[in-house]
Subunit: 247 residues, 2 copies
């Protein structure tokens, strides 16, 4: 009998075309996992993630669910996956889940982190995990823009999605800034995020911090609902999905 499993994954997104399987390439995280699990389970396995990460985006705590008929224990599944997955994808944990658990449909919130290196001196060891933004940042302006993004808003201006049917209202519970040397780490906690939403919020914060827009212009972006009123799309490589919440 097929059982339902929940697993927690890490991956460095650098060399992948993102999470979602594509017909044109098998170079996706979903593709790698489905190929491996289908072989292990002896049947076609579909893997659902809490959400799709874009090309180049990393994950420290992506959650997936899948169904499989196997004699293996959850820990044996984890070890099997870790021995066959490429070195930039790892499985931290596999657990049997309730029959109805679905990694995307049951997710109630997420935490993303965005790492900015505010320096002209490159970061050698973490260069694949940080985005370089060399223009001087004013912390006060950065914090003002952050504060205006927190709360429940229509984030229509903050997505690259063209889907006009679904609601674009989301709640950002918190944006936290930590400065470590030349690095600025932004942690976003929210109930859900639209396509490109964290990267556009981040581009908006960076533009405010470097004096290219006023913190108040965030309101104008919300009111207009126009993509062009929000900031630039910050590079994928600075972004990582840290954690997914479930009830």
């Amino acid at each position: 009998m097929a059982r339902n499993y929940k697993a927690i994954l890490q991956y460095e997104g650098t060399r992948y075309q993102g999470w979602q399987k594509q017909i044109s390439t098998d170079n996706t995280i979903q593709g790698k996992l489905e190929t491996l699990l289908s072989r292990m389970c002896g049947e076609t396995v579909e893997v659902n993630a809490s959400g799709r990460t874009d090309a180049g985006v990393h994950a420290y705590g992506q959650v997936i669910s899948f169904r499989c008929t196997t004699e293996k224990t959850a820990q044996e599944i984890r070890d099997y996956m870790n021995s066959y997955l490429p070195e930039d994808i790892g499985v931290l944990e596999v657990k049997e889940a309730g029959e109805r658990f679905h990694a995307r449909l049951n997710a109630t919130g997420k935490v993303y982190r965005y790492r900015v290196l505010n320096s002209t001196i490159p970061h050698i060891f973490e260069r694949r995990l940080v985005a370089v933004y060399p223009e001087p940042l004013q912390e006060e302006a950065v914090r003002q823009a952050m504060a205006r993004l927190v709360g429940t808003h229509d984030f229509k201006a903050f997505t690259s999605s063209k889907n006009r049917k679904k609601s674009t209202t989301r709640t950002i519970q918190d944006i936290h800034l930590e400065r470590i040397g030349q690095e600025w780490q932004f942690t976003f906690t929210g109930d859900g995020f639209l396509y490109h939403m964290v990267r556009i919020m981040m581009g908006t914060i960076l533009e405010a911090g470097s004096g290219k827009r006023s913190p108040e212009s965030v309101e104008e972006a919300f009111l207009s609902g126009e993509r062009k009123k929000a900031g630039f799309l910050a590079p994928a490589q600075g972004l990582a999905l840290m954690e997914v919440f479930y009830h």
Copy 2:
């Protein structure tokens, strides 16, 4: 007039054949730097490092010296180097140095760090910077082996060098262990290190920690002076040169 410069470098050693220039390949850190600086200075530049790091070994604070005739300021030299060096080599600082400063001859001590991941779950984000050693380690045995290595000893058994003319006596001032989750970080401070010495000390410590040898066997290795009495050569990828001391 040619001036003498001191610079501090970082590099991820993963894809290089080590520090030292070779005739058969230009894939060395020294080779990359000399090519770049010779172009910048318009003359053949020789770069001296505090010491040669092996293939795959990293540096957070390698020190080099070189002579060059240029109109550029020290900071302009740094920026020039950072714009042309590959993304896994970076220059933190360039300073004009005294006429007689030599990065290797004047070095009075060094700090190396060795990172061991004591787990069967792979480390995704820092996989190029840690060595995986999955066998369980006993901290007490690890610390006993560390303590026996500290001090002034003839480290003849702890080098792969075949040079029998030079002294193999060195002083290790300190070996410090820090445990962070599944990671064991060892920091070695000493007046100088022989070829492969840190990696062989590390192999010896790991063998003691996993019960493959007694901590006392360190003394036997010292007494015999035989390479085969010391531990295995721990992998290059866990090792990094952190700091070089000068008077």
